[in-house]
Symmetry: C2
Subunit: 478 residues, 2 copies
């Protein structure tokens, strides 16, 4: 219950993050290195993101399914690039039911292989296409440098897996998923993400093309917050996903996969948080408003009763609200506590407020003056105040991103720029050149934005002709 303040974000971003996720009761460190316990205050945010994304997925005609998490090692080894990409991160079950297993079982790090096996079984004819599957699941990737939400050994995600008759249809699906992710990020998480394609070195193991949404965190780094892959016929060939087309010919399907994970919560924290702690966008905040009744003994009886009554009316108006009834704590402590925990709106009800028939409203950010609102009108005005706060957070994050992004054409400016933000550069596209840049600055190509003006010229680093036909975003990343 006792809380120390968190290290200010401006002092040590990384310490701030590690402290705030635990103190705000979003998570706790798990018993096994790199694992996390997501507590109700954090899990509710995931449920809200989930509900929205699941609605988009169903609306677009996908069916949710559940594939086993244990994948025979032999399945996993079929696609050469895929196994090479994931092998160092696998957790393996070797003993079950008291016996050594004949074939070890990989705990899924992703499910292309097992789902590929079933796509092959379920698809016969062009009439079976497209096959649009999704699952909400836990996956495991053994992490050497774990960090709550961002890189944990076990995490939660959804993984979409689809099969299509041809590249066109599969690419439409790939871009649909990317847009869905951008929609969730922008509309729920208030994250002004950039959609774009990954350069070859950053592609998913086994993909032909990988797309991602990238958000800028408040330390200037990029966070990849959702990826969508066009897998071509790579998995179809090794898993025999074939169909008879209208002419009776046997043809390989084109597949896609796409995922968004609990990492998104980390993105929300690092996009909006400040020195005091979390700042949560109302649409995914566990509590959109907290009511703090003030006073002791008989006074408390009156203010607590009024707070409960107001909470009931707010719940009916669709607001997620919590009454802080902890009698052993002072109001000032509670204010700091809920600020640290990022609740968008605080409502204080003191005895004098009650006498005047008002509540005192304080926003977590932005307009810092307290405001008095007639008690009766709160359920009517609060939804609008929350929407304004949501929009404010988006604009603030967009401004931050734009102020920390620059077109760069020379190496010295690049080094300065990527120390605290993103550089838009012309780049040759060669992996060796990317590697040199990374070794020197820790910056990597984040994404070739879908929306960017056409531009060609010489690579800012090596002078060779530029690739991609437009500028690429480089930055340090999580």
């Amino acid at each position: 219950m006792s809380r120390e303040g968190v290290t200010p974000q401006s002092e040590d971003f990384s310490a701030w993050y590690n402290e705030v996720v635990v103190q705000a009761e979003l998570v706790d460190r798990g018993p096994v290195r790199g694992t996390m316990v997501i507590r109700p205050y954090g899990y509710r945010m995931w449920e809200l993101l989930q509900a929205d994304l699941d609605g988009r997925i169903k609306e677009a005609g996908h069916g949710n399914a559940c594939f086993p998490m244990f994948i025979p090692e032999s399945y996993f080894k079929r696609e050469a690039e895929h196994v090479e990409g994931f092998s160092p991160e696998l957790a393996v079950v070797t003993v079950a039911g008291g016996k050594e297993l004949e074939e070890p079982l990989v705990v899924r790090p992703t499910s292309e292989t097992v789902i590929g096996e079933y796509m092959a079984k379920w698809i016969d004819s062009h009439r079976d296409l497209p096959l649009l599957l999704n699952q909400w699941a836990n996956v495991v990737r053994w992490e050497l440098r774990p960090r709550m939400f961002l890189r944990t050994t076990e995490f939660l995600w959804q993984e979409g897996h689809t099969a299509h008759a041809d590249e066109d249809d599969a690419m439409r699906e790939t871009m649909w998923a990317l847009d869905a992710y951008a929609g969730v990020a922008r509309e729920l998480a208030a994250m002004p993400v950039i959609e774009g394609e990954k350069t070859p070195s950053e592609r998913f193991a086994g993909a032909v093309r990988t797309y991602s949404i990238e958000g800028m965190m408040r330390d200037g780094r990029a966070l990849q917050a959702g990826t969508s892959h066009y897998l071509g016929t790579n998995f179809a060939k090794v898993f025999d996903i074939q169909y008879q087309d209208a002419q009776g010919e046997l043809v390989h399907a084109h597949t896609t996969s796409w995922g968004m994970s609990t990492r998104m919560i980390g993105g929300v924290i690092m996009t909006h948080g400040d020195d005091k702690g979390l700042v949560l966008p109302p649409r995914i905040a566990t509590y959109q408003a907290v009511i703090v009744p003030i006073g002791r003994d008989e006074t408390a009886e009156r203010t607590v009763a009024a707070a409960r009554e107001l909470a009931d009316r707010l719940k009916k108006a669709g607001v997620r609200v919590h009454v802080d009834e902890r009698t052993q704590l002072r109001p000032g402590f509670k204010y700091n506590d809920w600020e640290m925990r990022g609740v968008p709106i605080r409502l204080e009800i003191g005895p004098r407020d009650l006498d005047s028939g008002v509540v005192t409203l304080a926003r977590r950010l932005g307009d810092q003056g307290k405001e008095q609102i007639p008690l009766d009108r709160v359920p009517e005005v609060l939804p609008g105040i929350l929407e304004d706060f949501q929009a404010f957070l988006y604009t603030r994050a967009e401004q931050y991103r734009d102020e920390h992004t620059a077109e760069i054409d020379d190496w010295d400016s690049f080094r300065t720029q990527v120390a605290g933000g993103w550089a838009r550069v012309l780049h040759c596209g060669r992996t060796e050149c990317e590697d040199e840049i990374k070794a020197d600055t820790a910056a990597t190509p984040r994404v070739v934005p879908l929306e960017a003006p056409e531009e060609t010229g010489s690579c800012f680093r090596c002078g060779q002709p530029s690739a991609y036909g437009k500028r690429v975003i480089f930055g340090r990343s999580y």
Copy 2:
């Protein structure tokens, strides 16, 4: 796509079950023995059950959380009965990140141990109680005789875990969960379950008291479809879950746990299905109604258009509806197919129906006559027809259960009775006597019903004084 008919239920219940779950596309066998792939047609049913139960859980003040699935082996070994009960079923990760692990990790078969560890950390004072947690998760129990939905190596469930100041409060919680399960079973699954307490031999490993809901399947066997456990201070003592009470004394908390799983889907199948296949209760049916447009070529254009339009109107009325547009299949095939897949209501639209402005409605069970309904009125009347069908299934199942349950006072009648149903008997409560009965008839004490008249006398089997103060239900079980 091609389907053979299923073995009739009346001929071979077990073969019927195994065939129908796969042919109806609820599941497919997983790549590893004992695992299953839940396909969209089956997973949607789980989502509908989940949504209802999750609403009840949240409404009662529980917070959803997510604990890691890998549990250090040492945690697992702390509660002696618990580890003894689960050891033969564990799957163990011994290799991760390319290395042998120092301590093997158990893949959770249930989470009392890991959650106990965190309850100890999060609870300091009586003000922190009750602590009400729940999680939706996958768990693993290595099964020797796996069966889709009923006993699979990996399954989905929710597990509630709560800590309370005393036995009274913990028992209230235990019974709340049992009632919630009975509510879901009766109201959604149309299963007339019996709530009761398990005898000591059937208790959860580590529990003081175990309660369950039991449904009768159409082969007369019992299915345990949800359990709720009062754990006393057993886990609190080994995990140090203590709190300071109002007097400043350090006291052990009383904990509970409770779970309902994908097994429930198996219960639905075996409670309502018949020789033709599945019969799904409308409230959890993936499709509540299927529309089959009839005709070829130009005729099909008209009927398909009308079917789509009707489907849109039904969706707006909140009905889950599917239009079967498979042009390569005949209507008769489609009728059989959707009957086998258990869709409650079928709507046929032929060219003559269209000319008269009607659709032809057929129920999956009960009133077998086809009915003609004005096309315009379908969205208005269908919700009521679906509710009636739901109620019909419940009553039918209740009748079946009552017809196959009898008060029994002698051994010969018992043997006959439990071959095809349940026996209500006075029993001595001795495990040795239970074991003898089981060895001879395969019947076990399913539950001591909460609601049953007081009655004492002699054990029907051994003649010793009866236990429990009421009759116990014996039956064969899944």
